[in-house]
């Protein structure tokens, strides 16, 4: 694994090094960063959390070792136009998450199933209280592709502050890595954590 050694450097130099290394790291890959400064460590942790970047750390003899993994394909960075919306009100969220496990809603006729799923996603946007998060796994990831009929609605939900977590294993299993149009690639640990920490799971 690549090691970025920022020992002896003061804030914000370690952060600059971390950001540079993140940009040079492929999605799914990790690198290790060393710092011997408490403030730098605190600020790095805060920055990585704020930017949904997964990391683990250990400390020995005054040196912190951070293993930083780039999970996202930087979906957010590629859509600059999303940052141009002038007026976005702040939306309330309810105490529930939505888990999407299929590209269809309910069992029965396939075409009807697709239509119902589309209507479901559109309807969520109009709820008084939005979901805390939306999780997509197995065939559920298929409705988050760029060509999905509901991709615009999902992007709107994301802009309204709803985090969309996509099972990275599922995305690569269905070879969709290049066609994902919203959300953050996530791992099973995070998905399980989100599902167990929320009281109410809504599954279409």
């Amino acid at each position: 694994m690549r090691i970025v050694d920022t020992r002896g450097q003061l804030c914000p130099a370690p952060l600059i090094a971390a950001k540079k290394a993140l940009r040079e790291t492929e999605a799914g890959e990790s690198f290790m960063l060393l710092t011997d400064n408490q403030t730098s460590f605190d600020n790095l942790s805060r920055f990585l959390k704020d930017n949904n970047t997964h990391f683990q750390f250990s400390k020995a003899e005054g040196v912190w070792e951070l293993t930083i993994t780039r999970l996202t394909g930087d979906v957010s960075e590629t859509r600059a136009e999303d940052y141009c919306t002038p007026e976005i009100t702040h939306f309330e969220k309810g105490n529930y998450i939505v888990v999407v496990t299929s590209d269809k809603m309910g069992e029965g006729d396939e075409e009807l199933g697709h239509l119902l799923m589309s209507n479901f996603i559109k309807a969520i946007k109009d709820l008084d209280r939005l979901p805390q998060k939306m999780v997509f796994y197995n065939k559920g990831v298929m409705i988050v592709t760029k060509n999905s009929p509901v991709i615009d609605h999902l992007r709107d939900l994301e802009k309204m502050g709803v985090e969309l977590l996509l099972c990275a294993t599922c995305v690569s299993h269905y070879s969709l890595s290049d066609s994902i149009g919203a959300g953050i690639l996530s791992n099973m640990f995070t998905i399980v954590e989100v599902m167990t920490s929320t009281g109410n799971i809504i599954k279409p």
Binding site: P12, K20, D42, I88, H90
Partner: protein
């Protein structure tokens, strides 16, 4: 011998302030003096204290000092003095007298540097019409410099954090980014042009902006220093019992500030300020993270944040530009108090 003051400090300028969170904890245990003549004290989170002498006159008292924010001693003196005097302008006062406050490592720096810092302070004070009539120096490392300033204000014309009214527009008179640009300079990633612009902004007195505030009888304003735009806006919202909407994209930034932040050049002070303030903030879900961190960037000798009444906002902006504050911008609005105190948008 060429002296580089920046080599001596981790945090320069207003970045060196103690964390606002810690400060608040400590001040809780310090009783405030009770006296009807104290018109403004720390209770309203203001920039300076104001003490009434009679119906026509009150004194504005303030002090500020910090470690070097730039390499050149003379420029450091100018910037520190402009920053110290700024608090008087922000309160609507006229600065009159000052004392030097200096800490200087006599065994580690040539005495010429000491003289240069004082000369810079003296020249800036003279420009502001302030007479420096004394001071105090301690042998200490790293060097630190600033002024204790006294100004006059009419007791009925004080401008304070308490004066923001729902419906007012927010005007900021200088671009943001001094903390980021100067941190970048230390790492060798800021351009010379950006550093020159940042220094010239830090040296700029807030007297012209204060003149415009007086002309329009403004009652609510603050100057932006170590707690960043976000931190000082929050103090104003608290003191005035209102909420503020701030639109980050409307705020001019110095040169390549945005690019530096995007590369990760976020000074430690920004994180300290964020940690203190964020519980009172609502960040729009699509808020650009870089712009958010710019809002928390500690400014040294920053601009004035002015609450302008709706019907005068356009004239005030025109006047500010006419007096040379060409990057003055309308950056948000005051509303009735809501669940959060600051609502920040792109």
């Amino acid at each position: 011998m060429k002296v580089d003051l920046l080599k001596m400090v981790e945090y320069g300028g207003c970045s060196a302030k103690i964390s606002p969170k810690q400060l608040e904890e400590i001040l809780k245990y310090l009783p405030l003096p009770k006296d009807p003549n104290i018109l403004v004290d720390i209770d309203t989170q203001d920039d300076a204290g104001v003490y009434r002498i009679n119906d026509e006159l009150a004194l504005v008292l303030t002090t500020d000092f910090f470690p070097p924010v730039c390499s050149d001693p003379y420029e450091f003196g100018q910037i520190a003095a402009a920053n110290s005097i700024s608090d008087v302008y922000a309160m609507g006062g006229d600065p009159v007298l000052a004392l030097n406050i200096m800490m200087f490592p006599a065994d580690r720096l040539p005495m010429e540097a000491y003289a240069e810092i004082l000369k810079g302070g003296f020249d800036k004070a003279t420009e502001a019409g302030v007479r420096i009539i004394g001071g105090h120096t301690i042998d200490d490392f790293p060097p630190k410099y600033g002024l204790a300033v006294v100004g006059y204000v009419h007791p009925k014309r004080i401008i304070a954090n308490t004066g923001a009214k729902p419906g007012d527009y927010l005007i900021l008179t200088k671009p943001l980014g001094t903390g980021i640009i100067m941190a970048g300079q230390r790492l060798g990633i800021s351009t010379d042009g950006d550093v020159a612009e940042a220094k010239s902004l830090m040296k700029q007195l807030n007297n012209t902006g204060a003149g415009v505030m007086k002309k329009y009888s403004i009652r609510g304003a603050t100057d932006i220093t170590g707690f960043g735009l976000a931190g000082h806006a929050l103090k104003m919202a608290k003191a005035s019992r209102v909420s503020l909407n701030i639109e980050m994209k409307k705020i001019p930034l110095i040169g390549s500030t945005y690019k530096l932040v995007d590369e990760g050049c976020i000074p430690g002070a920004s994180f300290r300020n964020l940690e203190y303030a964020e519980k009172d903030f609502s960040f729009s879900p699509d808020l650009d993270y870089n712009l958010k961190m710019v809002a928390f960037d500690a400014q040294t000798s920053g601009g004035l944040l002015i609450c302008a009444p709706d019907d005068k906002t356009e004239q005030i902006l025109t006047d500010l530009k006419d007096v040379g504050l060409t990057e003055s911008s309308l950056i948000g609005q005051v509303t009735e108090q809501k669940e959060k105190l600051i609502y920040m948008y792109n």
